[in-house]
């Protein structure tokens, strides 16, 4: 884990309100594993004050890592205007990542919206192992162009809520089909809006499948010091709250109170 100013190599719009940024940081790339995140300081003033957390969406070569982000407010708005060549302070990699299951089992990655970001990195690292990738969006305009990720179109399935691309409906519909279709056990990995993840966790429980979720929470430090990022733990856990930054962001679905 390091805290350093790193160069923005590119910062491209890849969908409506969505950008892909490449940052040059050897140390981050060396330590990064799928599910890890970084805390980015978007500018030098105090408004906004806090760093913004982003999942590492992948690495490129030995010294570039990627973040995929949507402009939702002040911080991401500033980020979208950062030009390549600028420098940003980055803290990371942080958190606990996905545990990749041993070969033999296949994996199913279920992402909603920007939740695809950590799963893209996971897909990159699953190379060779069997997996399918299900991604849900509101509409076609929100679907990022992900050419640089080299995803296999045969295993990458899309759902949109308005039906403008792929399956008309929720990504969890696709998951239900997939689970029904597959004979062998499958490990679930999910990240996205809370209701979506909750449904995936429910399905996993019903079917007895292992399921890892990547959670979000408002964060101040990202380091376990402020206790700001608490989420309620399930009764199966001996603690009342879990901290997304250090206990997670990736957690077994069964540890979380849905």
């Amino acid at each position: 884990m390091v805290e350093q100013e790193v160069a923005v190599v590119f910062n491209e719009q890849v969908a409506l309100d969505t950008f892909l940024m490449g940052l040059q940081a050897k140390e981050v790339v060396r330590e990064a594993a799928p599910g890890h995140f970084v805390m980015v300081r978007v500018h030098k003033g105090f408004d906004p004050l806090l760093r913004r957390p982003f999942s590492i969406a992948g690495t490129l070569g030995g010294d570039l890592f990627l973040i995929l982000y949507r402009v939702v407010g002040q911080g991401t708005g500033i980020l979208a205007e950062v030009r390549s060549g600028s420098r940003l302070s980055v803290l990371g990699p942080l958190g606990n990542g996905f545990r990749i299951v041993s070969s033999g089992t296949s994996s199913c990655l279920v992402g909603g919206g920007m939740g695809v970001a950590p799963l893209l990195f996971l897909a990159q690292r699953l190379n060779g192992m069997p997996f399918s990738f299900l991604a849900g969006y509101g509409n076609a305009a929100q679907i990022p162009a992900l050419d640089s990720f080299g995803l296999n179109p045969e295993t990458f399935h899309i759902a949109t809520e308005d039906g403008s691309r792929g399956h008309h409906g929720m990504v969890t519909d696709l998951l239900e089909e997939e689970v029904a279709r597959l004979k062998e056990p499958v490990a679930l990995f999910t990240c996205g809006p809370r209701p979506m993840m909750s449904r995936v966790a429910e399905l996993a429980l019903e079917q007895g499948l292992p399921c890892q979720v990547s959670l979000e929470a408002e964060m101040a430090c990202g380091l376990g010091a402020c206790q700001g990022c608490a989420v309620e733990a399930s009764s199966a856990t001996d603690r009342f709250y879990l901290h997304v930054c250090t206990d997670g962001p990736v957690l077994d679905a069964g540890r979380v109170a849905w």
């Binding site: 906004p48 004050l49 408002e218 101040a220 430090c221 010091a225 608490a230 309620e232």
Partner: protein, 308 residues
């Protein structure tokens, strides 16, 4: 360990600090969370996260929300309790080559006394900082720290249970900080620190609910700095014991404002979330400021404010 040209040492009541920059309670964990990034021993000291008699899970999320140049937190003083603290955290404190101050709180006088007493076994802890912003459950939930009499009572109760120097941390949510500072001094505090957070609130206009699970929270960060500085200045002109300035300090420039106004030391809180090395950068910046102006001893700056 960095080395500096200026003599940055400050004498601080019974404490000797290598420099006047401390990490503020609740923002630097138990000192180990930041160890990958910086050596806490480069700071004059660290104040640990608040500890209570029994473990506390803390408030329901969301616990933090950002505000212009600041943030609200409603952590709810989540902590592992004094017993697990002594077992798990204290042994690691031995490696710290700096002053370590425990921050304690309770909901009754007895709880304050009991935590203080339990910490007597830990020589790793040089001093106690007493957070008196907590609601007094026996008195209908009004914070101890808003009343001079109750503030003095907490101070005496802690002093009766410890041989360590006692720093009392004052709440800014009061009409006049001076009678409280005076009461705490008379009760025997070795020093006071201020300010704790200012109570605030944010509403989510989409859901029409409070943004914090606890409805209100404590405002910290650069936004509150002018208020903290004013209160520190008032306290310095009221008591004879040392005053530690806290509130919105991010840079050496900010720390200098407090030192010049009369603070004997400063604490750095929220800034550590923005820059995990903020405290250490401030120490360096104080050295630079003194060097550029030919000031050999930082202590000479303390209280050097000229008013007319």
């Amino acid at each position: 360990m960095e080395s500096y040209i200026t003599d940055l040492r400050v004498e601080f009541g019974p404490l000797r600090l290598k420099n006047p920059v401390l990490a503020a309670s609740g923002t630097f964990g138990y000192g180990d969370e930041f160890s990958h990034l910086s050596d806490p021993s480069d700071m004059g000291g660290i104040v640990l996260k608040g500890i209570s008699l029994r473990p506390r899970a803390g408030n329901p999320p969301p616990r933090i929300v950002e505000t212009p140049a600041g943030m609200l937190n409603a952590i709810g003083l989540a902590n592992i309790g004094v017993d697990r603290f002594l077992e798990e955290k204290v042994p690691r404190l031995r490696e710290m080559d700096t002053v370590v101050i425990a921050n304690i709180y309770g909901h009754t006088l007895e709880e304050y006394g009991a935590v203080a007493r339990r910490l007597e076994v830990a020589p790793e802890i040089t001093a106690l900082e007493v957070n008196i912003s907590c609601p007094n459950v026996a008195q209908g939930g009004v914070a101890f720290g808003t009343d001079p009499g109750q503030s003095a009572a907490v101070t005496r109760c802690v002093l009766d249970n410890t041989d360590k120097p006692v720093i009392v941390k004052l709440s800014p949510n009061v009409t006049d900080i001076r009678p409280i500072a005076r009461a705490v001094e008379e009760a025997g505090a070795a020093a006071i620190s201020l300010i704790n957070t200012i109570t605030g609130m944010v509403v989510d206009v989409e859901t029409r609910r409070p943004r914090l699970g606890n409805v209100t929270g404590g405002l910290s960060g650069p936004a509150i700095r002018p208020v903290a500085l004013r209160m520190v200045y008032e306290a310095v002109n009221t008591v004879n014991i040392p005053v530690i300035g806290v509130g919105g300090i991010v840079t050496a420039h900010d720390a200098l404002e407090f030192l010049i106004a009369g603070a004997s030391a400063v604490q750095v809180g929220t800034a550590h979330f923005v820059d995990p090395r903020a405290g250490i950068h401030i120490v360096k910046g104080l050295d630079d400021y003194c060097k550029e102006r030919g000031i050999g001893r930082l202590g000479d700056l303390i209280g050097s404010l000229q008013v007319n």
